[in-house]
Symmetry: C2
Subunit: 93 residues, 2 copies
Amino acid sequence: MTVTSSECVENGNSMKVRAAIMLKTGVLDPQGEAIRHALGTLGFEGVEGVRQGKIIELDLAETDAKKAEAEVQRMCEALLANTVIESYEVELP
Amino acid sequence: MTVTSSECVENGNSMKVRAAIMLKTGVLDPQGEAIRHALGTLGFEGVEGVRQGKIIELDLAETDAKKAEAEVQRMCEALLANTVIESYEVELP
């Protein structure tokens, strides 16, 4: 089975789940601003805003979607996201 | 209109488009490995692999989905992704 790295895939043995972590609205994002400026310099017009975030792609032994989602939420709360300034979103296959 | 930062949203004036950038399969990801190790230390079991990537969320003046997708692909090729070691994926609303 061929699987691109960008897909969330569930098969018999494991499940790929993604956590998308973004800075909350209102939190300053200098990296995003730098990208916006660089895009302007390169001639890309009409870019009104850029925010940069993280993707954590997890390969889990758990194959039950509900349980996997709950586990990744716990991981986000405990380690992956700084919930003071970041929001997260769990993307299931 | 209330819009969470995590959604790709299209309205009359602008369009939020996301580029998800991941290291290609086979490229060493020490940051992902560190996360996997930390999750194990925290007692999360069954994490077989972790890969870390980037999300770039763009707020574009362009409202035509096809044109926006093509433009973001050009941005990825020119600036956002290092296509030698990274693959990207454009997520439209």
